[in-house]
Symmetry: C2
Subunit: 421 residues, 2 copies
């Protein structure tokens, strides 16, 4: 009935999703990132200024009836934030820190089993071009995952300036460049060898490009990469990556760090330090990002920039794998069940409980025995039933739905015991 | 650069939007409504089971590349909730209370100045068919608006069973029915007269239909409507509306209540009590809803149901009109500015402040005078600058950005004064 890969979350999953979103947005806020809301669709020609062809090919498009122009459902939020920073916020002094919680949409084959509607929460730090800024976004991403309760993860660091520098001989031919970068991204040595043969490159270039596949590991990768850093872009890129590495190491993350100079990420706009974060037992990255220093200029206001996005579906999945999150879910704290004669007491009690923050369902028309309501309440995951059968000073019968344990309480005692718990 | 009527919110507006959303979702939760997430697009043929032609005509559609089927960007959430309740939640005992916070999308002419991307937060109460359920959704909608801080509003009550009963002579011709209902909805007496003439209806039917335009006002409308309630649907509808009115009156809302038996609302699925809530000074309704007892059966599981949605753009606008909400906005509480030598103290201070819930931007590389940073900080709406220039026991200079007032504090005193404030 519904397409594969679109978002449907029932109450329990939605409640966990909201909790994750709130924690992440609150951490972004604590780091000074201000949330913005961007349109779900916009004009294709404007949006496409900011992204590469591959991503556009995977985007959903339709014709706007009012203008006849093509619209695109956003496949990525970063270009929208860049546009906002470069236009609506162009009078603001830099740096600008922005964040968002948004869905992006990408065509997938039905059988691919991948998401077509992807929930991302991300942040962009616009202005600074230094290593501190690169490191800030990585440190924030790590802190978010730690505070969500994820314990073991790896941070993979790459450097697009270095990688682009090595592939510089192909920059005059965008098609060749892209194919070779694609083979590097897939770490497909034999395909890469074949492509290089086709391109008829010299031995030296061939060796340098192939070495991209081996330049991953610990701190020693810096030494191994140094002889290759001949092109100025490579040199500057490697120097920058060392600085970022040092900041992250100082912050205590050495164990988690992995350098991978063949890392590419799928977006055309990256120009410098890039990163991805993996968690044990989850095949794909939980988040990633990097520096994109030439995106804002496409919207008329050149500025350095770096950012990242977290993949909320995967984070939720990873958290659900850890035993700690397997706590009970209740749909409501109380079902206030009452007879018609006890209506005004029930209404007043419900109000008091709600004002105290409890989730309360009120239901008139009690008849028969309380036991006949227990089975439904159990299936509905309601925690407690409070039964009011009339009379101003009548006791309330409180029934714990799971155990069936009952006790009678006076309204004042009930509220007191709740406020003290 | 961006289409008219799509959502773009800068930090200040987003922050207010989030605050409104959180308050509303928390009230829904306190009334036992559980949030769900529904897809932004789905198959047109499935979605269209639940909505009328008019709404479908205004929906954005595109072809799904993977299946070749038509997709629709949801123009309404209620049919999605009905589908979920009737399928994924069909094993749950009734009643089911669900809520959502979601955008809906509707074609508008560029010059119409209306929203094309509309943020709604709504709830659905699935199962009960009684007046208590009708009243619950209205009472909840009212409580939400009150707790958001809106003071003066009107609740307009209608009854689709009554209205449909009066229009029963036209039910055999859907085209006539729709045109006449449309003229009633617009309260366009001369157009309605012309249509009735065209339909060649008898004097009695003509008088009854035209009277729909006059049946609005206070409690006395019930007496005026009684002679028209001949058809059983009219009788039952009127009786039900009296019950709902009585519950709302008992709850203290008599002043706000307005009966309008010519009220129709734009959705084909309503079958019983309907309502709209207006606030003084806002032309359109802030929210509304009603009973739709035949929607779930279209997805295979017949059930009574009632619900409502709030129009968040308009509520935000209404709140911004009230003086009370004109409070200052700060993008961050602290800019921790420091020299390279004070980096580790600055990092540690920033962490402590963030853990205490403050919004903190840390910035290395202080040079020159603090005054040169004030103007940017003011534009960025940062509340305070904390300056650290090195040394373990050195004082922190705290600068209030708006007033420029400075004082020196020891780190321990600073944290203490913050935690006590």
């Amino acid at each position: 009935m519904i397409p594969k890969g679109v978002a449907t979350f029932l109450p329990e999953g939605t409640s966990r999703r909201r909790e994750i979103e709130r924690k992440i947005l609150s951490l972004f806020s604590q780091w000074g990132y201000q949330e913005v809301i961007t349109p779900i669709f916009e004009y294709l020609d404007v949006f496409s200024l900011g992204v590469g062809e591959d991503l556009l090919n995977r985007a959903y498009k339709f014709v706007d009836r009012a203008t006849g122009r093509m619209m695109v459902l956003r496949p990525d939020v970063t270009p929208q934030i860049a546009r906002i920073a470069a236009t609506l916020l162009s009078d603001q002094p830099l740096p600008i820190r922005l964040c968002y919680s948004a869905n992006v949409f990408r065509h997938e084959e039905e059988h691919a089993g991948r998401e077509r509607e992807i929930h991302q929460i991300g942040g962009e730090l616009i202005g600074p071009s230094d290593a501190e800024a690169d490191a800030e976004t990585i440190l924030l991403a790590v802190e978010i995952l730690q505070k969500l309760g994820l314990k073991s993860f790896k941070i993979s660091l790459g450097q697009m300036a270095f990688t682009r520098g090595i592939l510089q001989p192909f920059e005059s031919s965008p098609v060749s460049f892209k194919r070779i970068l694609g083979a590097v991204a897939k770490k497909d040595a034999s395909h890469l060898e074949a492509l290089l043969k086709e391109e008829k490159v010299g031995q030296k270039t061939r060796r340098q490009v192939l070495s991209l596949l081996d330049l991953f590991g610990g701190e020693d990768v810096f030494a191994a990469a140094k002889p290759l850093a001949v092109h100025p872009a490579c040199k500057a890129g490697l120097r920058r990556l060392r600085e970022v590495y040092a900041i992250l190491k100082n912050a205590g993350h050495q164990e988690a760090l992995l350098i991978d100079l063949g890392e590419v990420r799928g977006f055309d706009y990256y120009t410098g330090t890039i990163f991805e974060i993996f968690s044990e037992g989850v095949g794909s990255e939980l988040g990633g990002g990097g520096r994109y220093d030439h995106l804002l200029e496409k919207f008329g206001a050149p500025s350095s920039s770096t950012g990242f996005a977290l993949h909320i579906e995967r984070i939720q999945w990873a958290l659900e794998q850890t035993a700690g999150s397997a706590r009970g879910y209740a749909s409501a704290d109380f079902l206030v069940l009452h007879t018609d004669g006890a209506a005004s007491e029930a209404v007043s009690l419900s109000h008091q409980l709600r004002d105290a923050g409890y989730r309360v369902i009120r239901r008139n028309g009690f008849h028969g025995a309380i036991e006949s309501y227990l089975s439904d309440a159990r299936k509905q995951k309601i925690a407690k039933i409070l039964l009011l059968t009339g009379g101003r000073d009548k006791a309330i019968r409180s029934v714990d739905v799971r155990s069936g344990r009952q006790e009678n309480k006076r309204p004042s005692d009930l509220l007191e015991s709740l406020s003290s718990s």
